[in-house]
Symmetry: C2
Subunit: 618 residues, 2 copies
């Protein structure tokens, strides 16, 4: 019942991750090197993360007026993670990386999410530096990205503002060229930045000697006004402390100031901040003066082209969305393991039988009750299914990067369609798993003496950050299933159909294949019916129920494909483990997939009940 | 959008609560006296409860080694509640009560749940004293109940033990007659009690001068052994401090000691305790000595007959279950109002239109987005529907107590069937409402700067206490729909059918009536199919999905009946308020009721997937 065998099965028995070694980029790797990475991460997670998960919740970050204080265990965990080399796992050997497939990197990082999601591993730093590797200049890669991959510095992403959460077109952070020599700064075109950024995770701390912010801001037009919409957005790299072109600290602080720490429901090990850029708290005088002649503003260096900031940022956001899905999944998994363990040890009640309960008999352990088994099996089907989907997506990322041109393009399109699901589905259903984990514990689950209530609190973030549920749904139904003439959806349908065809040949799976065929048909029909008027208001009014139905259909497909791998597999797995996966599949088909119909009714009918509700009628 | 108009509509327009005044017991009352009670409770809740809801969460109860410390606001709130007379609202005028219908009492108490559920009003004290009014001796009523109704003392219910949570047949707390004069104690047959009780809410505090525990314990048989099962359980009244037959404290402490405070996920304003009875910390020497000759044990007085303790306790538990449902509902309602308020004030994003968004236009308030309206309408339909059900049940309680013999018996049976729903349905769906309230707030909802995260934490308790979801489901499918040859279910079906028949005549409601007819048919069929083998293991394996489907069907019926009241109503309500209720009904029928089919499939098939899952396959 531990995470490792589940990961190994999915990686090798199902996804054949070891065959990636046949590709040039991964030629130096083997199952052995993959295993070594997994071993290392599993060990660090066990030793440096899991034991401190409650502590970082109880001792949330504090600002003493000068520094943000975190428990010492957080620094230890951070240092161990850095030492593992995982920050640069996917990078070239020449960059000091491991050239590890993203599939294996994702699997290895899963251990940390299971052990202590709030402690934070390197997701933001890796994502930040990886973005620079794609869109930054050589110097930006050398100075910023390299110091992030080494763990000397850490990274953030600064998108939201207090008045612009989900609506990035409304950011009002301004960036103006920083004087006459601004264009020739070796670190990139230099700007002065002023604005307030909200919800910045890891925005301030002392874990690393510097923090590299990637900041969305707008360069005013010739009239001095900001360009409305996302077209006006540019991307800047803004270090907390000024650095030179050798990647050394100059000793000067940049004008990035902590405006406040957010006090959260969960996920408390990671600071979440409001940051003021260029409010004048730390004026930077070592470089020339800004358009206002007073050197006001935080110093930032343009990344990519002006006005193309959001496209650059999406490079990081797509990765972040898959990572959020894995995080949600791992919280679900942690709750599953905790409640399974509890259910095996807790005696309570007696079996129900036709003759009635005999109170003279000893109590049985609660895992022997059907309803407790139902709650455990639901958790297993949600969490292992979500993990499989996440790794499937990670495998597509590898295909996109190292496959043939055709395969890469197919992978790209499939990822476009699957990313909203990989992010939203675990956020919703592995949260439900955490609620079931509490329920299995009874009253004990409601106390802070057991870990499950924290998992549930931590997991509630995932439907909100990196694009809310509503935003993901608009992305899915409003863009992803339509793009390139619906090619992404067509590709996905083809893969689902291929799985169905194989399953039809297996008597025990054939009924599932039939149910999946029906669900897919309904989803495709609902997609068309939603858009039949061509009016986005009609189509998108029920985007969330659509996404829920789409997600359940995708997960049903994933489970069927996993079940096929179980039945077609060699003797690698135990009988019990195989039985568990087959039953989780059955559970999903009998208890979950039928919900698809209920969700799709309103989509197909373009039901206006909600959209047309007058405000005063609430 | 405030609670009062909703309550008034349900009480008078729908349930005709004012007509209760035609009955002898309530003859001194009028709409005016009901309004005065509502006014008082609304005011106290607003002034003494709501402003302190966050404080009682942040400053949870602490034990200083001698006393349990609560914030001062809790005492203020308690005193104000006591002064309102609500503790004895339902009692006879001669007992100092108000002879208020339970329907009005429940509605008035709802304000406190909405303002601060964790502060705790008088539910346990009222329930405890009411039980004594039914099962206690005249002296027990006079001494214990009267002092509880006056608010001088408070009450608890002590059922669970560390090894016996849901399984009360396994309690091992022992009660032995307390010496030769034990049978003639004026306060009732006197026993010495030893054992540990777990999850005792309000088990220790300084809010009142005494605490009256109602304790389940077993009297050993002639062989000195405890009788297995619930048959062996008796009920005792055990005061924290010893009292005389005048209802005065004697100055001696009883041997009830705080073993520990539970540290909870939410609901922190109320202490939750583990209590040790008779461990010898406070030996009682003023009365003679117990069978072991050493006076060991807490002193308790038998209530009702030996071995009939659980039946007595159920008098309190049934009331408590409806109260839990109302509490869950009010937490949901509080979140609904908070998120509605936020959605009306928060600008973010722009309308979706066929021409695309125009970023030059100002942002709109988020209540203008279809998905936000969906989340608000879902909350409205869950919470107002649950409130209607709760008041419907409360009205049945009044019928049971003051109706004709036939009506009273019908009300009793309907309550048997509806109580598991009134408890479980709001616990599940108003919790979901709270999650949606967080979602409407976006990132802000995840911070402790807004109240919704606390509502969500507080509400998570309701699926656990007073009988878990699983226990409610076994009660429903295993007992309630079967009892007296299924008469409860037949009565309920008749009422649902009557509503349907009326709705069929209203063109806008006729499709709902048809959908409800189908759902009811499915539920009845599923009930029969589940029991078709006569084997409880088969029937009850999917008791929770059955309860979910049953609950949604009941709520659909309640909404349809409410909608009829709206359409048949006079001009009392505003057009907007009527529109809101009709749309909430439509929402429930289009978005929620279709789920019934998905849940019932496994019930009808007696699906063994979960029950047959081998332990080692998890």
């Amino acid at each position: 019942m531990s995470l490792r065998p589940t990961l190994d099965f999915l990686l090798y028995q199902w996804l054949k991750a070891d065959s990636l070694n046949e590709r040039d980029r991964f030629a130096d790797h083997s199952r052995e090197t993959f295993d070594a990475v997994m071993d290392t991460c599993e060990r660090i997670a066990r030793e440096k993360y899991a034991p401190f998960n409650r502590m970082i919740d109880a001792e949330e970050p504090k600002f003493d007026g000068e520094k943000v204080i975190l428990p010492a265990c957080t620094q230890d965990a951070h240092d161990a993670y850095v030492a593992s080399g995982m920050l640069g796992a996917a990078q070239d050997f020449e960059m000091g990386g491991m050239q590890l497939p993203f599939t294996v990197e994702s699997a290895a990082n899963a251990f940390f999410g299971c052990a202590s999601i709030g402690m934070g591993a390197g997701m933001l730093t890796t994502g930040n530096a990886s973005l620079l590797m794609v869109h930054g200049t050589s110097m930006q890669k050398e100075v910023f990205a390299k110091n992030e991959f080494s763990g000397a510095w850490s990274g953030t992403m600064c998108l939201s503002e207090p008045q612009a959460g989900s609506s990035l077109s409304d950011v009002v952070t301004r960036a103006v060229p920083d004087g006459d020599d601004s264009a020739t700064d070796p670190l990139g075109p230099r700007y002065r930045i002023k604005g307030n950024k909200m919800w910045i995770s890891a925005g301030e701390h002392e874990l690393t000697e510097n923090i590299i912010h990637l900041v969305l801001a707008k360069i005013p037009g010739p009239d001095g006004k900001l360009i409305p919409g996302t077209k006006g957005i540019s991307l800047f790299v803004v270090p907390k402390k000024m650095v030179n072109d050798k990647g050394q600290l100059t000793g000067e602080r940049n004008d990035v100031a902590l405006a406040g720490l957010n006090h959260k429901l969960g996920w408390r090990g990671t600071t979440n901040t409001m940051l003021n850029f260029g409010e004048g708290k730390y004026p930077v005088t070592s470089v020339s003066g800004g358009l206002d002649g007073q050197g006001a503003g935080a110093v930032g260096y343009l990344v990519g082209q002006p006005g193309k900031g959001l496209q650059c940022m999406f490079h990081m956001m797509n990765g972040a969305r898959i990572a959020v899905g894995i995080g949600a999944t791992m919280l679900g998994m942690a709750g599953y393991y905790a409640s399974l363990d509890y259910a095996k040890g807790r005696p309570q009640g007696r079996p129900i039988s036709a003759g009635g309960k005999d109170p003279a008999q000893p109590q049985v352990r609660i895992i022997e009750h059907a309803d407790v088994k139902r709650m455990l099996l639901a958790q297993k089907s949600y969490c292992e299914g979500a993990l499989a989907l996440a790794l499937y997506c990670a495998r597509l990322v590898d295909e996109q990067h190292t496959g043939t041109a055709d395969a890469a393009d197919e992978a790209r399109l499939l990822l476009e369609v699957l990313t909203p699901i990989a992010k939203s589905w675990p956020s919703e259903w592995c949260l439900e798993a955490n609620s079931l984990a509490i329920q299995v514990h009874g009253g004990y689950g409601y106390t802070r003496d057991f870990p499950v209530e924290q998992y549930w609190r931590d997991n509630r973030l995932n439907m909100i950050h990196e694009g809310t549920h509503g935003i993901q749904a608009l992305d899915l139904l409003g863009r992803k299933v339509l793009m390139e003439n619906g090619k992404g959806l067509i590709l996905l349908a083809a893969r689902i159909t291929a799985t169905m065809k194989r399953a039809q040949l297996v008597p025990t799976l054939a009924p599932h294949a039939e149910a999946l065929a029906q669900a897919l048909k309904r989803v495709i029909h609902a997609t068309q019916a939603a858009w039949s008027t061509g009016e986005p208001n009609d189509a998108l009014a029920n985007a969330v129920p659509y996404m829920q139905a789409f997600g359940h259909t995708v997960l049903a497909w994933i489970w069927l494909d996993v079940a096929l791998a179980v039945l077609e597999g060699d003797a690698m797995q135990s009988v019990a483990s195989s039985e568990g996966k087959i039953r989780a599949t059955t559970y999903f088909y009998h208890y979950e997939l039928p919900k698809v119909e209920a969700w799709l009714k309103v989509v197909e009918n373009r039901d206006p009940t909600c959209a047309a509700m007058p405000e005063e009628a609430f």
